[in-house]
Amino acid sequence: MTFEERHFWLRRLHSLSGIVPIGGYLAFHLYENYTATRGGEAYNRMVRNLQETPFAIFLEIGIIIVPLLFHGVYGLFVTGTARPNVTSNRYVRNWMYFLQRATGVILFAFVIFHLWTTRLVNIRDHESVDLFRLMQESLQSRWIYAFYIVGILSATFHLANGIWSFSIVWGLTVGPRAQRRMIWVSAAVFLILSFIGIRSIQAFRA
């Protein structure tokens, strides 16, 4: 593979990894966490079930950690080549371009914090920890709660807007009308996932 093709596939892999598997996992993650609205017992049962999935550790590394690490680190590198100009070009799409990069940087910090506090801090006795109580206690802090709200909305926005640009990058939507129609898909993804995510996080504070 030539240098040109390597660069091309790196960029395309960055685009693809944001949707499959990361976007898919985000949707699943928010969906499963909605169980929190049914109380601690139901939530912990759901967590146990997931932990008993065959090859769980390999799925975690292969579908979550490695793609996230690649998408995040390469994404920061790509963001480093940007000079946003929303003050002189006040168009919606230019704002979306800026927000995509801003939420990406927020998410890099949020995901590290989130992984550290829920997965890595008790890595030795992960199977026996009461995750519902752990979340309840950590979300008592108004700051952590606010960080979670910002993190969830950043993630759902980043995915929804990412679907829009993904469909251009891979050649699905070419014309302006097709791209406008894709905004509806993007908006629906944002609204539905945000609703599920925010309701779930609220359940830990109830």
Binding site: F3, E4, E5, H7, F8, W9, R11, R12, G80, T81, A82, R83, P84, N85, S88, N89, Y91, R93, N94, M96, Y97, F98, Q100, W164, S165, I168, V169, W170, G171, L172, T173, V174, G175, P176, Q179
Partner: protein
């Protein structure tokens, strides 16, 4: 132009005239692009009575300034050479007439051919800057033009190869400012998306076909 005949400083002393590029004065040569009141546009069609006073003129920021408002846009020419933005017809004998083009194709290609290499699309692009080597919308749209041409198409694969490298198509961040800044109303974002589709197919062809 009247000002340039008798250039004076603010306190009335004679000085050298402001240097700027211009030729056609009707928005077809592409040389007078500059920032007028902060907006990248062709100076020749920026009519003075429709502008807020005093008018502030600045050179384009994405190109090296030669002097005053005159900038060196040769980076755009380099990009056009890189993507082979021409129809290959040179040879030692007459190749005869090329294939005919459908009228609908010709009409669309004409819109793309209106590009005057003014640089406004690069000026407003957040991905064209000192931190990246992105070529910008204009040369990408030229690939859409020449890959559409029945004879130009003979270099299609080489052009797509050139777009796939660093500083090429995938540096685009889809901010879509270019299509709004283009003085010739060229569907730049459609060209870009069309090239995204073409390079996707080209990439897979190379990955599984070689």
């Amino acid at each position: 132009m009247e000002v340039a005949k008798d250039p004076k400083t603010r306190d009335g002393r004679r000085t050298s005239p402001v240097v700027y590029d211009r030729a056609c004065l009707e928005e077809v040569c592409g040389s007078c692009a500059m920032r007028v009141n902060g907006v990248a546009r062709m100076a020749c069609t920026a009519l003075i009575d429709s502008l807020a006073q005093p008018v502030k003129l600045e050179p384009l920021a994405k190109f090296p300034v030669v002097r005053d408002l005159s900038v060196d846009r040769s980076s755009m020419f380099e990009s056009l050479k890189r993507v082979k933005a021409w129809v290959p017809i040179d040879g030692t004998y007459d190749l005869g007439p090329g294939p005919r083009m459908a009228e609908s194709e010709r009409a669309y290609a004409y819109e793309l051919s209106k590009c005057i290499t003014c640089g406004n699309c690069l000026e407003v692009c957040p991905q064209v800057n000192d931190r990246s080597s992105f070529m910008g919308a204009a040369p990408i749209s030229q690939v859409a033009l020449f890959n559409r041409h029945p004879t130009g198409r003979m270099l299609a694969a080489e052009r797509l190869d050139a777009l796939m490298g660093e500083g090429g198509l995938d540096e685009c961040g889809n901010a879509q400012n270019c299509v709004r800044a283009c003085p010739k109303s060229i569907p730049l974002t459609t060209s870009i998306a069309e090239m995204f589709r073409a390079t996707t197919a080209h990439g897979f062809r190379k990955l599984f076909g070689s």
